[in-house]
């Protein structure tokens, strides 16, 4: 089922990102297609060189020079390529590089004309430039024409030389984004708002098993476990449905507010304050699971809610509250659909469709939770000492969530230490509890034993300076972080748009990967731990200029950078070719895997 759904999604994405024009993409401004420069040749001659972009070519017989408004000059050009392909007729062409030599150039400016095409795209009108043999300067393109002012529409969002105004803007701006219509927009065009509303729950379902959604499971399970005796399949269904609906609703509201106000949702939700409060909430929840006290909302709140909800049961109310606040955990996880919805709201102001899409996304993410709630409702053991045991297990789950939430706020080694303490505590719980059967006893002890050993290892790791809970002994093994032939990936940091532009401008013919990350971005940690350390990824990115934009300290500069690059939040990866143009369909948002990363990287290999 998941495979089939992924297939559908894949097809859809391919369709979405297929450019409206033929496969060649938007034509480059002529100076990026054919970058011209002049130099002094041997014996007082003048040499002109073109660097030709991938997929473009110049015609040999269309290179000509003359004295301005005067006699033609002899131009020497090397033989070009005569393709067997009949498309090229009798003429010779140059790929990648072309050169022309004017042996008796003199010292007065020369009028140079040249012409070429974009493969499968357009053939440029002849380009004429003044080349000064003395200063070796090449004039700018002929003065721009007046901007179009009639109601002629330009095509989509492309940064093609449609309007001279735009062309110039992108030229000085330092980079060019791929013309993607955006997820919602494309779905709308494809099948109207209904398709948007149908697809987003599906996207949600596909994202339901990602790390961001995991904390929901213990939360919901904990809420259900507190029901004790009263819990049935029906009640489990109702409670989990309420929980999920509240979550989706909060998701939609937050998305609408964030997208509409232009504020950054993730930044707010991932502030240390939010994370800290959440961690404390989970500790409190855990303590209540351990039976230290009965968790009650202040009476004034509950009565306020009760009078307004017509006496909805206390459990339902708390399920709704829990769901509503759980958005603080799911919300910050940037995924392609979330980014798409936020950008859509920000750009079109269409809050209704954007928020409805987000609501659908939330429902989709919660569907497995409802299944779990319903099944768990009939499967969870009831009553007595048993219930107490189950509650404690969830207590440990809550404590684990608390540590996980607090990790970014803690000094590097402290989280390792806390994990160790938690594991050892869980182990002692497993050893002391009175197990009902022999099998349970064996299982409990086995789990407890493993927890104890790993806890001890973590403790040693923490003491020896390790920071990665999955590799606590790496520092002791003393063999460096990596043992592969491929080079370690080194990211240079940028903090603002001008920074990035400078980096792109000095890429020296390299393609560039820009990676948006932040300490608080959970998915980013996963990417850095597994994806970026993968050998094939390192090989695939070997020829790239690697740039990292760290959003941990969020300020106006990186906010502006995000806006200019149309990035909704971390993790997002953008791929620019050597000409600072984003390659269409390569952008990765949220879900970065070894496969998707190498695929995107390989699309820029030709550069």
């Amino acid at each position: 089922m998941k495979k089939a759904a992924l297939g559908i999604l894949g097809m859809l994405v391919i369709q979405l990102f297929a450019p409206a024009v033929a496969s060649s993409g938007e034509p480059l401004p002529v100076d990026r297609a054919f970058a011209i420069s002049a130099s002094q040749g041997a014996g007082g001659s003048l040499s002109v060189e073109w660097k030709i972009a991938e997929g473009y070519y110049l015609y040999r017989d269309r290179i000509a020079a003359r004295v301005p408004k005067g006699a033609a000059l002899t131009v020497e050009t090397p033989p070009g390529l005569v393709k067997d392909d009949p498309n090229f007729g009798p003429s010779e062409i140059y790929y990648r590089r072309a050169e022309a030599v004017l042996s008796n150039a003199g010292s007065a400016p020369i009028e140079l004309t040249y012409q070429g095409c974009q493969e499968n795209g357009i053939c440029y009108a002849p380009e004429t430039r003044l080349v000064d043999p003395a200063t070796l300067t090449v004039s700018d393109p002929v003065p721009l024409r007046p901007p179009p002012v009639v109601n002629w529409e330009t095509e989509g969002v492309s940064a093609s030389p449609v309007e001279p105004g735009i062309e110039q803007a992108t030229g000085t701006e330092g980079f060019e984004l791929a013309a993607d219509a955006g997820l919602i927009q494309s779905l709308r065009v494809e099948g109207g708002p209904l398709l948007v509303l149908a697809m987003f729950p599906l996207f949600g379902l596909l994202l339901a098993f990602t790390p961001c959604v995991f904390p929901m499971y213990p939360i919901l399970a904990g809420a259900l476990a507190r029901e004790g005796d009263r819990l049935t399949a029906g009640r489990g269904f109702i409670l989990s449905a309420i929980y999920v609906t509240a979550l989706a609703l909060a998701f939609a509201l937050l998305g609408a507010a964030a997208g509409w106000s232009g504020q950054n949702l993730q930044m707010v939700l991932q502030s240390p304050l939010t994370a800290g409060i959440l961690a404390i909430v989970f500790v409190v929840l855990a303590l209540s699971m351990f039976g230290l006290f009965e968790l009650q909302l202040p009476a004034a709140w509950t009565s306020w809610v009760t009078t307004r909800t017509g006496g909805m049961g206390g459990s339902k109310r708390s399920a709704a509250l829990l769901g509503f606040s759980s958005v603080l955990i799911v919300g910050p996880c940037v995924t392609a659909p979330l980014a798409g919805a936020l950008l859509y709201i920000a750009q079109t102001g269409d809050v209704v469709l954007g928020a409805a899409a987000l609501f659908g996304l939330g429902i989709g993410k919660g569907l497995p939770l409802i299944v779990l709630g319903t099944l768990g409702g009939s499967a969870l053991p009831r009553a007595g000492a048993w219930m107490e045991g189950v509650k404690r297990v969830f207590g440990f789950g809550f404590l684990a969530t608390a540590i996980w939430m607090a990790t970014p706020l803690l000094p590097a080694r402290l989280d390792l230490f806390l994990w160790a303490v938690l594991l050892i505590a869980a182990a002692s719980f497993a050893f002391t509890v009175k197990w009902r059967s022999g099998t349970a006893l064996a299982t409990g002890r086995a789990v407890g034993g493993v927890a104890l050993i790993y806890g001890a290892i973590l403790m040693v790791g923490a003491a020896s300076g390790a920071t990665d809970p999955l590799k606590p002994l790496a520092t002791l093994a003393d063999r460096g972080p990596a043992v592969s032939g491929a080079k370690q990936l080194d990211f240079a940091e940028v903090e603002s748009a001008p920074d990035l532009k400078a980096k792109l401008a000095s890429a020296n013919g390299k393609a560039t990967l820009v990676y948006f990350t932040a300490d608080w971005c959970v998915t980013c940690h996963t990417i850095e731990r597994s994806v970026l350390r993968d050998d094939s990824v390192r090989r695939g990115l070997a020829g790239f200029q690697l740039i990292k934009a760290d959003l941990t300290d969020f300020d106006q500069d990186n906010a502006a950078l995000m806006t200019q690059l149309r990035v909704a939040g971390p993790p997002t990866m953008l791929f620019f070719d050597a000409n600072a143009r984003e390659a269409a369909g390569t952008r990765l948002v949220g879900d970065v895997t070894v496969g998707s990363l190498t695929r995107s990287a390989s699309q820029l290999d030709g550069y």
Partner: protein, 201 residues
């Protein structure tokens, strides 16, 4: 930039078609009438069609020619499209020669156009003539017809070039479908989608 993209997206979404505020600048800027309804240029397809497709092209531009057959098929199959081929000779004298002869071919306009558009790449003057005679036309007769009608044909070429420059087209092909501008070659899917978009607005 961001705002501009936003606006363009909104336009693409069909929410603000043709309602952009139009400042009165550049008096020389082409109007819909001048671009899509130039009376001097023969119309292909359905003269009363609800949508006009205009293509700025050159007889030596390989990508203009590669898509031509498909374009003609779409126009024929749709039945409600006006096609206006706007000669914009950017490949020099041979292209001007080809455009001049075809525009002088009167009743045989479509035949002459299709014959030259069926060639693959760059052309010589002799090649143009031989392709035309192979399809049953008389190049020297066409040249004579051009000479006697030169003012009209030169006028077409001049107007087309002015418009292309005013639009800021980088080269050929460039399409105008409805009132929307498209750069570069378009395949069948892109053309059909563009025609559908034009109908929606």
């Amino acid at each position: 930039m961001m705002n501009r993209r936003g606006i363009l997206k909104a336009v693409a979404a069909g929410s603000a078609i043709a309602a952009l505020p139009v400042p009165t600048l550049a008096q020389s800027f082409p109007t819909v009438e001048e671009v899509l309804f130039d009376p001097a240029i023969p119309v292909i397809g359905n003269p009363d069609g609800d949508i006009t497709v205009a293509e700025y092209f050159d007889y030596q531009c390989p990508f203009c020619k590669r898509g031509h057959k498909e374009l003609m098929e779409i126009v024929r199959a749709d039945g409600n499209v006006r096609l206006v081929m706007k000669d914009w000779p950017i490949f020099g004298a041979v292209s001007v020669h080809a455009s001049s002869l075809v525009l002088a071919s009167g009743e045989s306009y479509e035949k002459a156009l299709n014959a030259l558009m069926a060639t693959p790449g760059r052309l010589g003057k002799e090649e143009v003539d031989s392709v035309l005679s192979e399809s049953g036309l008389d190049p020297s007769g066409l040249l004579a017809a051009f000479k006697s009608d030169q003012a009209r044909i030169d006028g077409i070429l001049a107007r087309n070039m002015d418009q292309a420059n005013a639009f800021g087209f980088g080269g050929t092909p460039a399409f105008i479908i409805g009132i929307r501008i498209y750069h570069g070659a378009m395949d069948r899917k892109a053309l059909e989608a563009a025609i559908a978009t034009a109908r929606e607005s």
